[in-house]
């Protein structure tokens, strides 16, 4: 088999076309721009949308971080990293603050993103109105007329069924006061991080062939009824059993020796970094 010789896998024409879609997405915050999604050497539904964005914007000086549900070492994250590095030779990192591009599935890192960074989110279902209206032609009209009754109705239904908005993830947001957008299946906990984000956020759906964006310093508001305010998952009174962090998104685990429920940072690199810092502090203390 002949190896691919293009920098970042794609030929320049393909990259340009994807970049054009990205530029349009940035120009119209929250609007889903169709693009000619390409065949990738990983299966669709495994982040091909995000990967195509990453490959078309990455340059030799970039430093890439890839996470899957908060973890840098998951099989998916690793295979994406391998592919990008093999075709670009860029530096990889697990440290959020060191990276210039972060490709992520289902999370926004705990370390606040800053100007100049780009967060690429993988999106399985870009259309927030899809469960309400099956036809793409119709949802396009609804967006163009800013008719978001359907998005509100879905929240209403959840409240009727569960007594609260039960979006575990992918809670719809209003972007720049104009388009209702699926933020990708990030927990509600991460929604506020999109509001006035210093970093550019790009979202890519490979199977559905859509790219959309939240440019830096854009208003992003989670949909909520007057009498049911938006609320993030609460970890009040909980802390990470490894690093002691509070106010972060945590996974719930069972301690097999005691049978107790314990909590742990979902963002593994954040946790690791805190652990290392703790160790350093201890070492320093012992040396004093």
């Amino acid at each position: 088999m002949k190896t691919n010789t293009h920098f970042a896998f794609f030929d320049e024409g393909s990259k340009k076309e994807i970049r054009r879609a990205i530029l349009k997405a940035v120009a119209i915050p929250g609007y889903q721009v169709p693009f000619a999604s390409r065949e990738m050497p990983i299966a669709r539904g495994w982040g091909t949308g995000g990967l195509q964005i990453t490959l078309s914007i990455i340059g030799k000086q970039d430093v890439l971080k890839v996470i899957d549900q908060g973890a840098d070492e998951s099989v998916n994250a690793v295979s994406i990293k391998k592919l990008v590095q093999a075709t670009t030779g860029v530096k990889l990192t697990e440290r959020t603050q060191e990276s210039s591009i972060i490709q992520s599935r289902h999370r926004i890192p705990e370390v606040a993103l800053t100007e100049g960074q780009i967060l690429v989110l993988q999106v399985p279902m870009p259309e927030p109105l899809r469960p309400y209206e099956a036809k793409e032609y119709q949802t396009k009209i609804l967006h163009s007329e800013e008719d978001y009754s359907g998005a509100w109705l879905m929240l209403f239904e959840q409240i009727m069924k569960y007594g609260q908005t039960a979006t575990g993830a992918d809670h719809p947001v209003y972007v720049n006061n104009r388009y209702v957008m699926a933020p990708s299946p990030i927990p509600r906990f991460d929604n506020p991080k999109m509001h006035q984000s210093e970093a550019l956020i790009l979202l890519g759906a490979g199977r559905e062939k859509k790219i959309y964006a939240v440019p830096p310093y854009t208003d992003v508001a989670s949909l909520a009824f007057d009498d049911y305010p938006f609320a993030v998952e609460s970890f009040e009174g909980k802390h990470c059993h490894l690093c002691g962090a509070t106010n972060v998104f945590m996974d719930e685990l069972i301690d097999h020796s005691t049978g107790e429920t314990i909590y742990q940072c979902n963002d593994t690199s954040y946790c690791m970094e805190r652990l290392n810092a703790n160790v350093e502090a201890e070492v320093e203390e012992n040396h004093v």
């Binding site: 209403f156 009727m160 009824f225 007057d226 049911y228």
Partner: protein, 279 residues
């Protein structure tokens, strides 16, 4: 009796197809019923004009294919009229042909001025959403963002149309045809529209259920004073509900007047046939 109509329709036309040199003529179109044998264009509504007065029920009767549903769809903006005008007598809309308004303004009219009950409940309801949610949908569309308020309105309406409240979270797909029509009516009434369109609401229902739905419509008109356009191919339904009646045939109005008068002394041969078959 009445001062000013709440809705005036003038010269409404709806055709399916481009027309040809033969049927494009103003007169002598050479149609077979509503259909041009030369090019296949269907003239579903031809030059329909009428007024709807505050608080009245206007009946529209006509055989299958006479253009009743097409007329309703044009009025409710589900379909674009080919030409013609409609005026809603309302401070904000007076003097404006509503067919020529922007889609946003049309949506405003649908959400605030109109209610629609479709012949087939599939068109009026989200079959997989809860019944209370279906009612909320219309309130949400009209700008409401308060859950408890919408739940309150929805419950009152469902009780009003005799849907037991313990079933309000069920999806209409689990309901009988009569119940579905009653949920549709509750939904159509949710934001107190001054104008309500009802297209063959009792077709396909059992006779006892029909009577039930007709009673409900009568009661709504009495209690809320909503102006209604009631479409049916069944003269019995029209006789029970409508104050005035329009008779349509092949896309045209062939007769109109007080319902009692039309029933007692039909003028047009077609209406005579219709009336005598009812007796």
């Amino acid at each position: 009796m009445y001062e000013e109509p709440i809705l005036s329709v003038r010269n409404l036309k709806k055709q399916f197809g481009p027309g040809c040199h033969q049927c494009n003529q103003e007169h002598d179109k050479g149609l077979e019923k509503n259909y041009c044998p030369n090019c296949g264009t269907v003239y579903a509504c031809q030059d329909i004009s009428f007024d709807l007065f505050p608080g009245e029920i206007l009946g529209i009767v006509g055989e299958s294919g006479s253009g009743k549903s097409t007329l309703m769809q044009c009025l409710y903006f589900d379909a674009d009229a080919t030409s013609g005008e409609a005026y809603i007598h309302d401070a904000a809309l007076d003097g404006q042909n509503v067919f020529s308004l922007s889609s946003q303004k049309k949506r405003y009219i649908r959400n605030h001025k109109y209610g629609m009950v479709y012949q087939n409940p599939v068109h009026g309801l989200k079959m997989n959403f809860s019944s209370i949610g279906n009612i909320a949908e219309k309130l949400i569309a009209a700008g409401n963002r308060n859950v408890s308020e919408m739940e309150g309105v929805g419950k009152t309406l469902l009780e009003n149309v005799h849907i037991p409240l313990f079933r309000m979270k069920e999806a209409p797909k689990n309901f009988s045809g009569g119940m579905q029509q009653r949920v549709q009516i509750a939904k159509a009434l949710s934001n107190n529209p001054p104008i309500l369109f009802l297209d063959e609401v009792t077709t396909g229902l059992d006779l006892s259920v029909q009577a039930n739905v007709l009673d409900l419509i009568k009661r709504i008109q009495r209690e809320l004073g909503i102006s209604m356009v009631v479409v049916s191919h069944d003269l019995a339904v029209i006789r029970m509900l409508a104050d005035r009646t329009i008779v349509m045939l092949n896309g045209e109005i062939i007769e109109e007047g007080l319902t009692d008068q039309i029933l007692e002394d039909p003028q047009h041969a077609y209406t005579q046939q219709l009336v005598y078959s009812l007796l």
